[in-house]
């Protein structure tokens, strides 16, 4: 796809690059890689596989230990030279390389959007008049012109991320590295980033895109998969994803279409359109109904109830406006909504951390209006905040996990028992004496969650627990939550992942501080609600979206398959049940 007009000299080229951090971690091992101008390269890999390190090397921010590096036509690093690092060359090369990474907050350096976009050009010494031109142009390119004078801290995550992209673009780089730009964003924010990326690719800018979302990798010209600092797989998306076994063992997963085609026994493909055509042309489809999932037993013992709750941080605007919600004992509830819709605020009220301005929150039969009651309730509700790894503080994993149980005033033995149990549950047994700060990112999160599980709450409230994890981490966390639930713990979680939401018993959709919808997943996610959800910045689970496309292509109604196994079931003929493809589904196990 490289336009032939471009010279074919690589924008970045690494050969036999090795890099270890002071802690002895080998983050990159013998990596050789060359990126052509105009190419769109996608980098995949589990947490800690060295993707961000590679990004920094490609952007000229980290000098490796071994090997050679050419960036933007400069020979910046050569381990065989007496002075391996050529600082001046690095300085020149960096002017042509841009970086956008995960957390938009950390990349914005000033308090006015347009000033932030101007920051890069100012550093390059661009004359004042031209800076103005660039700022305007780039803000237009990311569709943020209306926010030029806004305060970035008041923007949504997706908007912040677009400001960060504009900031990188204003330096007119040849190559931009995107390091998981969408992992903290909602559905709408993520698709906006993908659109911007597509436009940049069309403009001939070289793109290196690191992601944990396999669908996004399909748009790339080339995919590179890292494993513990080494390049494990490399090739076009189709080539790479066809290594099904290896992809799974690397902690990744196949794209949706690939999984579906395999389960249907169709020729393997990872192109959704192709699969769609093939099925529409006469796959083994009989049409069908998915059996309705049994709704949560209407025992109607609410452990948690919010009635007409309003809350605002300042007079100007409601963060919550007459929101209601009821959670049955032992059920699992998912709360979805775009950024800023008030999800985290709702959780804070449900956890009795704050009282609502009006309306009432009732937890286990106790109204949270009185401070004393709130204090008492706080011990019984497990609250896992957004990025729970940020709450770690103690010297050892064990003492961090023990913090909560100790505060409950339990005996030493009981504290010990609970900690051991919680650590086993999350799979961190044996790491009791390690420092929580020395764990990897994914394990830090599990450690923080263990700290809450050790309090043995009957109600667990989680705020986006899977954000930023790789597919394997997401899967593991899902299993942990599932096993906790089997013990009768009620689970309420906020999520940006529609697949996760579809697995809950009950889904609550918030939009702009209000209840938009609620109901069983099959009621919330269906053909009729697709538009409403899209307007609220949300989407449908992939299986359902695909089923809808199949119906549009002329297939008989397929019901509303929310999970892949439901879709497969709907697609395969019910009569020959014996020959029906039944594949053990990692994700959509039905109960």
């Amino acid at each position: 796809m490289t336009s032939p007009a471009n010279s074919n000299k690589p924008v970045a080229s690494l050969s036999h690059v090795t890099l270890s951090y002071d802690s002895g971690n080998q983050a990159l091992v013998d990596v050789s890689l060359s990126i052509r101008p105009g190419e769109h390269v996608c980098v995949l890999g589990a947490n800690g596989s060295g993707k961000s390190t590679l990004a920094s090397v490609v952007c000229g921010l980290l000098a490796p230990d071994e090997g050679q590096v050419f960036l933007a036509g400069e020979h910046v690093f050569d381990a065989t030279r007496p002075a391996p690092v050529d600082y001046d060359a690095y300085g020149r090369a960096r002017r042509n390389l841009g970086l956008v990474f995960q957390n938009p907050d950390d990349q914005i350096v000033t308090t006015v959007v347009e000033e932030d976009v101007a920051f890069g050009p100012e550093n390059l010494g661009v004359p004042s008049r031209q800076i103005g031109v660039r700022v305007e142009r780039e803000l237009r390119r990311v569709a943020m012109t209306d926010y030029a004078k806004a305060d970035p801290t008041r923007l949504s995550g997706g908007q912040k991320q677009r400001v960060a992209i504009a900031g990188a673009l204003a330096m007119e780089p040849q190559l931009i590295v995107f390091d998981e730009p969408g992992s903290l964003l909602d559905v709408r924010g993520r698709s906006a980033i993908m659109r911007v990326m597509g436009r940049l690719h069309d403009d001939g800018i070289t793109i290196v895109h690191i992601t944990h979302f396999m669908e996004e990798a399909l748009q790339a010209d080339r995919v590179i998969v890292l494993e513990q600092g080494r390049i494990a797989l490399e090739g076009t998306p189709v080539e790479v994803f066809s290594h099904t076994q290896q992809i799974r063992s690397l902690g990744l997963e196949e794209p949706f279409a690939a999984r579906l085609s395999r389960k249907l026994g169709l020729p393997w493909t990872c192109d959704e359109d192709e699969l769609l055509q093939r099925i529409a042309r006469g796959g083994p489809v009989r049409g069908g109904r998915t059996q309705e999932r049994g709704l949560a037993t209407p025992s109607a013992e609410h452990v948690l109830e919010a009635i007409g709750v309003s809350y605002s941080y300042d007079q100007s605007r409601h963060a919550l406006d007459e929101v209601s919600l009821a959670v049955d004992k032992g059920s699992s509830v998912a709360i979805v909504g775009q950024t800023g819709s008030g999800k985290s605020t709702l959780l804070r009220l449900l956890c009795a951390l704050e009282e609502p301005d009006s309306g009432s929150v009732v937890v286990n039969g106790t109204n949270t209006r009185r401070k004393r009651d709130r204090r008492r309730l706080q011990g019984t509700i497990g609250y896992v905040m957004q990025h729970p790894e940020r709450q770690l503080f103690a010297e050892t994993v064990l003492s961090d996990v023990a913090f909560g149980p100790k505060n409950l005033g339990l005996s030493h033995d009981e504290v010990q028992r609970r900690c051991t149990h919680a650590l086993e549950l999350v799979g961190l047994a044996g790491l009791e004496d390690a420092s929580p700060f020395e764990l990897s990112g994914g394990r830090q999160r599990l450690c923080a969650i263990a700290g809450i599980l050790a309090m043995e709450p009957s109600l667990l409230i989680l705020d986006e627990p899977t954000a930023g994890l790789d597919p394997r981490g997401r899967r593991e966390l899902r299993h942990i939550l599932e096993s906790i639930r089997e013990r009768g713990v009620t689970i309420v979680q906020v999520t940006h992942n529609m697949e996760d939401a579809a697995r809950a018993d009950w889904v609550v959709v918030l939009d702009q501080a209000r209840n938009l919808m609620e109901g069983a997943p099959s009621a919330v996610f269906c053909r009729q609600t697709a538009r409403t959800l899209a307007q609220a910045g949300l989407g449908l689970p992939a299986s359902l979206a695909f089923a809808n496309r199949l119906e549009d292509a002329g297939l008989p109604p397929l019901g509303s398959p929310l999970t892949m196994s439901a879709l497969v079931e709907a697609l395969t003929a019910p009569e020959d049940a014996a020959s029906r493809l039944v594949v053990v589904d990692d994700a959509g196990r039905r109960r």
Partner: protein
Amino acid sequence: MATKTSSTSRHDNHSTTAQGTGWSTKRIAITALFCAVAAISTLFLEFPILPGVPFLKYDPSAIVALIAGFAFGPGTGAVVSTVSYLPHIATSSGIYGMIMAIIATLSLVLPASLIYRKNTTFKGALIGLGVGAVVCLACCILANLVVTPIFLGSTVEDVANMIVPALLPFNVIKIAINCIVTALVYKPITKALGN
């Protein structure tokens, strides 16, 4: 390791920018974030030391400055002790509160981190805190004698009369909390800094 940068400070390794006279971006970033944490402490984490005396507030900003001094040297500690109070010029404490806070924090952080730099062990930290506490107490009282009269328009004797009943206990409590919490926080923080 193949790369050797001229500086061996813990702010930098694998760097691709020449170590000039200026600070590295890493040092700027760390200092700025410590300043922000200290500034937040003064605005958000403060609470009255004695129940019923709402205006004698304690805030943990000095702890943040102490940690900065221990971890990144007296220079960084001094910057955190100063810059983080600048926004206070426009809050209720005004220029007076700002000056007093800077004096109190600097006089604690500088001696403590200078001593710790010579002896980077937990014991060194404790000695540093001890010396810092004494210097700080002296400076606070001296500053009150010099600055407060100008500010309040009262006489030096008036202020001197308040030393034993008010200034001394308040400052002793404050310094004690700072030192104790810093000692408690020291070990986990060194782990967090480790990677």
